[in-house]
């Protein structure tokens, strides 16, 4: 029994589970104790159970034309201490509020540019600065309904922001499904931990979408999720969110705009739509303003938003704020708009337009991490220390040709955590993408988020499109904090929204973290 952790070597980075060999960090004590009772064949059985559950539910993804495979969830959860989570939550909230203000500003008065806090040219040369969206005042006052902020942990264990995702951040369905799978595969682990639930994300999102509907929609606005279709790699998530929110999942062809009002085609004729939660990129969203050859979009949508007749979430043009060069100004935005010090630091980033900076950075070509400013999904990133000579040569040429198109960052030794690989637990690098939902009044950060793991040994690329896996992410409730209260504006949850396990009666061993009654009830909703 229980030799899974015996040969666990720390990889020289900050390890989430162990402070030093054989010394688990406090939040992990219970988990380590449990892992020590498990054998390899126990874990293999649970893995099989997990794969079967994912396959049967169709929770799969396909890598570059390969066969669909179950989403790679590692069975060892990642645990965030209540204290760490408090920092992350506050930091993400602060960041989202600043970015929201920034977007309203650059598509409106442009005060931050006139005040020379951010150079004009950084904004007007961004590939995702969409002049088509200038002057639009979103009907509900919100542009960033959903944000995914990618965090990494440096050698000292400090969380830093690696990038912001303000366009169509994806992955939240895996957060919810991972938790659902874990509670089925490893129910006993949850007995001894007070993990904050994540299943109410869709209801929070729906509440935010409804709250930001055009005022004329009244108190029962029609919300839809707009997807490019079943062949999109994130279709599962689009369908998941529509189902969990109890709203229609539409494709562009289901919508029609007439005189700046959006309708969907139903069996009873056209029905007015008030909020479009779209998961189609800006460039394909409205062929009137963007690519005219797009067949997945809805012509007229942007003008409907301009007329205030529909809320588009997230708003068109948000990409300018998650441009990786603009990213380096986010701390300045936080001070400029909020008058606060940033709670979460950036990673040291070099903008390469300045010839001196460019020369210094190129001299350290093989020591820095290089990223295209408008990329996402991990595409195009070159990690200097890992790159071959010919890759570095090619990189140099491309950077010199378009310095505005690239940033260079100091490498971060992403933290590691034990991950089940080929029959044993081995350290693998990971990051964290918390999801924030903004309803115009406040920013709610879903407890936990998506932990992505780079599965190949030593790899730092965690994107699922690049072979990354994931972990269920546990935020341990602060035993002193009151149980979270459901927001008063929430609509009645759809039957599937909360996964109710039957009330346990006569439980023998409540586990080491005996909690007051209200918290136990919360736990039983996991």
């Amino acid at each position: 029994m229980g030799d899974l952790l015996d040969r666990y070597d720390l990889a020289g980075a900050f390890d989430e589970m162990f402070a030093a060999a054989g010394e688990p960090r406090t939040p992990y004590l219970g988990l380590v104790a449990h892992l020590e009772t498990l054998s390899r064949s126990d874990l293999d059985d649970r893995c099989a159970m997990r794969d079967r559950a994912f396959r049967d539910q169709g929770i799969t993804f396909a890598l570059g034309g390969e066969e669909e495979r179950p989403f790679p969830l590692d069975l060892v959860p990642r645990i965030l201490a209540a204290r760490d989570w408090t920092t992350i939550e506050a930091g993400v909230r602060q960041r989202v509020l600043a970015l929201e203000r920034f977007l309203a500003d650059v598509y409106g008065e442009r005060a931050i540019l006139h005040d020379r806090v951010i150079p004009h040219r950084m904004v007007v040369t961004s590939a995702h600065f969409h002049r088509e969206a200038a002057g639009i005042v979103p009907a509900g006052g919100v542009r960033v309904h959903v944000a995914g902020v990618d965090l990494v942990r440096d050698r000292d264990g400090r969380f830093r922001v690696l990038e912001d995702n303000l366009r169509c951040p994806s992955g939240v369905s895996y957060v919810v499904e991972n938790r659902r799978a874990m509670t089925r595969v490893f129910p006993e682990m949850f007995q001894s931990h007070h993990v904050r639930p994540v299943a109410d994300y869709p209801m929070r999102l729906l509440a935010a979408l409804r709250a930001t509907a055009p005022p004329a929609a009244g108190n029962n606005p029609t919300v839809v999720v707009l997807t490019p279709g079943v062949y999109n790699s994130a279709y599962f998530e689009h369908s998941f969110l529509a189902r969990q929110m109890g709203v229609e999942l539409v494709e562009g062809r289901d919508l029609v705009c007439r005189d700046q009002v959006v309708f969907m085609r139903t069996t009873n004729g056209e029905q007015r739509v008030d909020v479009v939660y779209r998961r189609i990129d800006d460039e394909f969203l409205d062929p009137v303003h963007f690519r005219p050859d797009s067949m997945v979009g809805c012509p007229g949508l942007l003008n409907a938003a301009r007329a205030g007749n529909v809320t588009v979430a997230n708003m068109v043009g948000n990409g300018v704020a998650d441009d990786k060069a603009i990213y380096s100004y986010v701390p300045d935005m936080i001070e400029y708009y909020l008058g606060e010090r940033p709670i979460l630091d950036n990673v040291q980033t070099y903008l390469l337009e300045d010839p001196d900076v460019l020369a210094h950075a190129l001299a350290r070509l093989d020591q820095l991490v290089w990223k295209p400013v408008d990329g996402s999904g991990g595409y195009g990133i070159v990690i200097g220390p890992r790159a071959r000579d010919h890759e570095l040569d090619a990189l140099r040429t491309r950077v010199l040709a378009d310095p505005r198109g690239w940033i260079a960052q100091e490498p971060i030794a992403l933290s590691t955590a034990p991950t089940y690989i080929d029959g044993s637990l081995a350290p693998r690098h990971l990051d964290l993408r918390p999801f924030a939902v903004h309803d115009g009044e406040s920013v709610w950060v879903a407890p936990g988020g998506l932990t992505r793991v780079a599965l190949p040994e030593g790899s730092l690329i965690v994107n699922s499109s690049q072979g990354g896996g994931s972990k269920d992410t546990w935020v341990i409730a602060d035993p002193l904090a009151p149980a979270s209260v459901a927001p008063s504006e929430l609509p009645a949850p759809a039957p599937e929204a909360i996964d109710c396990t039957p009330l346990e009666r006569g439980r023998q061993d409540p586990g080491p973290l005996v909690a007051p009654l209200d918290q136990q009830q919360q736990q039983q909703q996991q």
């Binding site: 007007v124 002057g135 005189d259 009137v288 012509p299 003008n303």
Partner: protein
Amino acid sequence: MRLAITHVTGYEYEGEVVASYNLARLTPRSVGGQLVLDHRIVVDPGVATFPSIDYWGTVVHAFDVHVPHRRLEVTGRSDVVTADAVGPPADAPGFDVLERDDVVDQFAELLAPSSMTAADEVVAALAGELRAGQSPVETVERVIEWVRDHVGYERGVTSVATPATGVLAARRGVCQDFAHLTVALLRAARVPARYVSGYLYPLTDGEVGVSLDGESHAWVDAWAGGWWSVDPTSGETAGDRHVRVAHGRDYQDVAPLAGIYHGAPSKSLMVHVDLTRLT
């Protein structure tokens, strides 16, 4: 000069078109001394239009048509008092000011090449030559002079999609091409420049009340301490015969009518501009 302008534009299709979405930029604004007394826009088939102001400050009318049609016609009628010519700014600064960081940053998007004003090595070399030893105002004058000396006005050689480099190679074109090449050269010479679209009253001494055939026209704004409107087709400072409708980085930012449609292919584009002097 007070002008009545009727601008008719649209498409004829080979068969029925069942849906179309369009953006029309046909509306002059009261800016820089120009005064718009009246303006209306009419679409046939009859639909409502939705006006807004775009990034560049231009009035855009959006409209969509959902009835089957074989012909789409948009008519803009304007009654405008034109602005008098304003020459280059007095005590215009030198390149030391134009190349200061804050100025370069403020005009970043009007110094950077756009898709139709991209500069190749030929454009860059020519711009360098024209600017050598000159002030910004002199550079503008020399660029215009060069364009007028070397590019012949001729229809049918270029198309609506010809970029500045294509104009330079062909050495022929219409007002749009003159403007694109001028803008490309100015930007390459580090003078902020923008493309202007509007109308030109064709005569200097036209009779009041007589309507004349015209067309939409294009010229250039150059920044040399202040904006200076010059018309590279005529070589003059734009004045009271010019009616300004829109400006932007190039033609694509100001296209009078743009849109998408579903149905039979388009057969022809019609444009007709009629200008009448009222005073």
